[in-house]
């Protein structure tokens, strides 16, 4: 009954003629007011699963999204397409903008917000007054992946849902193994969500892992690979400095446009790099994980990992940027034995050591209330995420109530034990994830089968050479001849000015 109308709406609002696999099924259940867990592969169009309903339902659709850049991007794209009543509440807004936005929040149909923003009392109060008809959690695996440490506000999502009147919930992800699926439902307080789980393997991608001795070997290899075939390529790094450094080296060595992208760049430059890449004015982008999630460029042919990520979920996310047009693409992971240390260091920066618990309680003995987060980092020598973890634990064990220290020996002893146990659990979890990733790198069978094994049973047949085990080599890969991108010509400023102002065709 709904079907013909939904199709009409799809083409009317988005100009698409067909739903992709899973979209219609999810949207129908959402419109029926069901709680839904949707797992669809990267690039299929999860956003549509709430964007279309938001246009068809009476009230507001609230979307919780982990990355500000991702939200801002989606809003800009929607606006550019003519969907006007959409806004992203984010911490970049200054006081005036935010107040203005909050004052007319009920005019928006689609509101993007970060989990941290949801805890802001002012915003919370305003959200109260809205008629929320759908609560969406995009990239829902973040609840499990990040929630337990540095994004602890993800763990309070169930309370928020209750406060906005218990609307139907839609959780979306491309990378959630069965245990994570269970965790998502539990954290959201909706254990009876309807599953819409589709295979998440990408039949159009080939896999290869290369083992090298030194960093320099990796660089040489990348130079060689890029020079051999000029194709839209992403290279992932785990540090900003190495992304910048390698970008500079490649720029010097190659006759291609290479740029870096990371979270420490000025806002306009970030936008420029992203846009250059989108418009094929850039061949290669050297980036950290700040670039990625949600990036929707159709023709990325190669995703190279200069450093490998700390878990398989992140890896699947990141290679999800490639081949969104459905055409052949490849993932190449470069590995040196030394690289093992990096993820370890990243993990240590995220989770506190056990000794921090004693330090913390010694500090609490001498204080009656917590200081600001910055001061706590400083006094206890903890990173932001380490402190977030401990703070959440203190609140949960009620050693801290509204920032006040509750002194009670028995309570404290219990709390210490509880925190220590939780900490161990998280360490084990992270180590497991890390080993899972590393095992995949060392795996000698079919990489495709192995990669998706934790998530689903079996994989579809690859449409391309499957992996280095099954006979794929990047040097022989048919990654499709792109129409050669614009040659790099450096015209003098007056010529460029003419081009910008479209004066050539008129005058010449």
């Amino acid at each position: 009954m709904l079907r013909p109308r939904l199709h009409e709406q799809l083409s009317h609002h988005f100009g698409f003629s067909e739903f992709r696999e899973g979209q219609k099924e999810i949207i129908e259940d959402v419109l029926q007011g069901q709680d839904v867990l949707g797992i669809l592969p990267t690039g299929v169009g999860k956003s549509l699963c709430y964007q279309l309903p938001s246009l068809l339902m009476h009230g507001t659709t609230l979307v919780v999204s982990p990355l500000i850049s991702l939200m801002v991007d989606q809003v800009k794209q929607l606006k550019a397409k003519g969907y006007k009543s959409v806004i992203a509440l984010n911490s970049f807004m200054d006081y005036r903008e935010r107040t203005a936005a909050l004052n007319q929040l009920n005019h928006y149909r689609l509101i993007y917000v970060s989990p941290e923003m949801l805890q802001n009392p002012k915003i919370e109060k305003t959200l109260h007054t809205l008629d929320v008809s759908l609560f969406v959690i995009d990239e829902a695996h973040c609840i499990s992946q990040w929630g337990h440490e540095f994004r602890t506000d993800y763990l309070k999502m169930d309370q928020v849902i209750e406060k906005v009147g218990n609307p139907p919930v839609l959780a979306l992800s491309a990378t959630a193994a069965p245990d994570v699926q269970k965790d998502i439902k539990k954290q959201l307080g909706r254990t009876n969500m309807i599953d819409h789980i589709y295979p998440m393997d990408k039949p159009n991608i080939s896999f290869a892992v290369e083992f090298h001795e030194h960093q320099d070997d990796k660089k040489g290899r990348i130079r060689h690979m890029l020079a051999a075939q000029r194709l839209p390529t992403m290279i992932y790094f785990s540090s900003r400095q190495s992304a910048e450094l390698v970008a500079e080296e490649l720029n010097i060595a190659l006759d291609q446009r290479v740029a870096f992208y990371h979270g420490g760049m000025e806002q306009m430059d970030r936008l420029l790099v992203q846009q250059q890449f989108m418009k094929d004015q850039l061949d290669v982008i050297c980036c950290t994980s700040a670039f990625g999630m949600g990036v929707d460029k159709p023709n990325i042919r190669r995703v190279i990992h200069y450093h490998f990520p700390t878990q398989v979920e992140s890896y699947i996310q990141e290679i999800g940027r490639a081949g969104r047009d459905g055409k052949p693409c490849a993932s190449i992971v470069m590995y040196t034995p030394h690289d093992q240390l990096l993820p370890k260091m990243l993990m240590e920066r995220e989770l506190p050591e056990e000794s921090a618990i004693e330090r913390l309680f010694a500090w609490l003995t001498n204080h009656s209330a917590l200081l600001s987060d910055e001061e706590m980092h400083e006094q206890l020598q903890l990173s932001e995420s380490q402190w977030n973890f401990l703070k959440y634990q203190l609140e949960e064990t009620q050693v801290i109530l509204q920032s006040k220290v509750m002194f009670d020996v028995e309570l404290w002893n219990k709390a210490k034990m509880h925190i220590r146990a939780n900490l161990r659990k998280r360490w084990n979890y992270k180590n497991e994830k890390f080993h899972q990733m590393r095992d995949w790198l060392y795996f000698t069978g079919c990489r495709r089968l192995k990669l998706y094994e934790p998530f689903q049973e079996g994989v579809r047949n690859a449409e391309v050479d499957c992996c280095d085990h099954c006979g794929f080599t990047i040097d022989d890969a048919q990654l499709m001849e792109e129409e050669a991108a614009d040659e790099i010509t450096h015209n003098s400023w007056d010529v460029r000015l003419k081009r910008i102002f479209l004066q050539e065709s008129i005058n010449e």
Binding site: V72, K76, Q77, A80, K81, G82, E97, E244, E248, N251, A259, F260, M265, E266, Q267, M268, D269, L271, L272, V273, Q275, Q276, K279, Q281, H490, S492, W493, D494, R496, L497, K498, R499, I500, F501, L502, Q503
Partner: protein, 356 residues
């Protein structure tokens, strides 16, 4: 360019301020001290021209100047120009005209730049009938300004005039400035380049890229301001720009109390601030407002005394003045007189000419 600006500042300050002090000035720190320095050393033109300059980069550049023997550091660790530095400065860009006027215009320039970038993008994309571009400027107030122009049909036949005006203005600038400015522009389907990309392509530091583009903007802004009839398209970007009021909001509050007759001590009580802070506010007002009356704080004779010594010694160093005046006046009184004396000198405020 960054090196030349630093050297220019160091020359004027003559070893009386540290690199941090110079950084504050260029970065545009809104403190009484910094505003006073800008006036005292006649460095108003550089005030606030580079808000995102980091302390670290200022120090790094100073170190490289020291290595190149352009500056040395005196006993107080303040930089002083060497003969070589003097020569370098002489040969630098300053000769072809220096259009910075930071104190007067730095905040307007920021707005001018945002408007200009968005205007160019909007005008050229409208011509392409592409209305789904992502705006390069995110500032909502600038976007609202653009929408207003658009709705009032102002931009419909702006393409050619905006092109011609930019072409003429850029021709008057150095080739390098015109290159950098144009390559950073987004519009007509071309995406602008990042500062790092430009730095790499032209073998410059990122600071130089930023400052060269900034300088081009100052020139554009000022020439438009002075000849609005010749630059109707660029003039759109000046809409409603107020004269800058540089006085800090805290100083403003102090002045309000003063105006209704409270004494400095009363204000200290009221605002729970230190006396020295309140005194800073008074000096700041004296610096910025030519009509500010200092007679209530120091006698006419005292003012004359201090002024004479100031002229004789030809230094802005308070300690020297304090000693030369036999400790008869306190630092506050001396600073106040020095500050208000600055208004007797006229600043150079030539409008730029298009031939330079």
């Amino acid at each position: 360019m960054f090196a030349a600006i630093l050297l220019d500042c160091i020359q004027s300050i003559q070893g009386e301020r540290s690199i941090s002090g110079i950084h504050n000035l260029i970065q545009g720190k809104k403190s009484s001290q910094t505003l006073q320095d800008a006036r005292l050393y006649k460095l108003e033109r550089y005030f606030g021209i580079y808000p995102s300059l980091s302390k670290l980069n200022a120090h790094k550049t100073a170190e490289s100047l020291e290595r190149r023997n352009f500056i040395r550091f005196n006993q107080e660790n303040h930089p002083v120009l060497t003969d070589e530095g003097e020569k370098y400065l002489e040969d630098s860009f300053m000769k072809d005209g220096n259009f910075f006027s930071g104190m007067e215009h730095h905040r307007n320039i920021i707005l001018f730049e945002k408007r200009l970038r968005l205007l160019i993008q909007t005008v050229t994309h409208s011509e392409l009938k592409d209305f789904a571009f992502l705006p390069i400027v995110e500032d909502p107030s600038v976007q609202a300004w653009m929408k207003r122009l658009y709705r009032n049909n102002v931009i419909s036949d702006l393409l050619t005039s905006l092109y011609e005006e930019l072409n003429s203005v850029l021709s008057a600038l150095s080739h390098l400035e015109a290159e950098l400015f144009t390559r950073r522009l987004t519009g007509g389907g071309l995406i602008g380049e990042t500062r790092e990309q430009l730095a790499h392509d032209y073998h410059l530091s990122v600071e130089d890229v930023d400052l060269l583009i900034k300088h081009a903007l100052f020139y554009m802004y000022r020439i438009t301001l002075s000849r609005q009839e010749n630059y109707p398209a660029l003039t759109l970007c000046l809409e409603g720009m107020a004269k800058e009021t540089l006085i800090t909001s805290s100083a403003k509050q102090t002045l309000q109390w003063l105006n209704i007759g409270l004494s400095l001590e009363d204000i200290v009580q009221k605002r729970r601030l230190k006396l020295s802070t309140i005194q800073d506010h008074v000096v700041e007002a004296a610096l910025i407002d030519p009509s500010f009356d200092i007679d209530g704080f120091i006698s006419k004779e005292g003012q004359k005394d201090i002024l004479t010594t100031l002229e004789n010694l030809n230094t802005n160093k308070l300690k020297k003045l304090f000693e030369a005046l036999d400790h008869n006046y306190n630092y506050f009184e001396i600073r106040l007189v020095v500050a208000s004396s600055k208004h007797t000198f006229k600043e150079d405020r030539h409008a730029p000419s298009s031939t330079s």
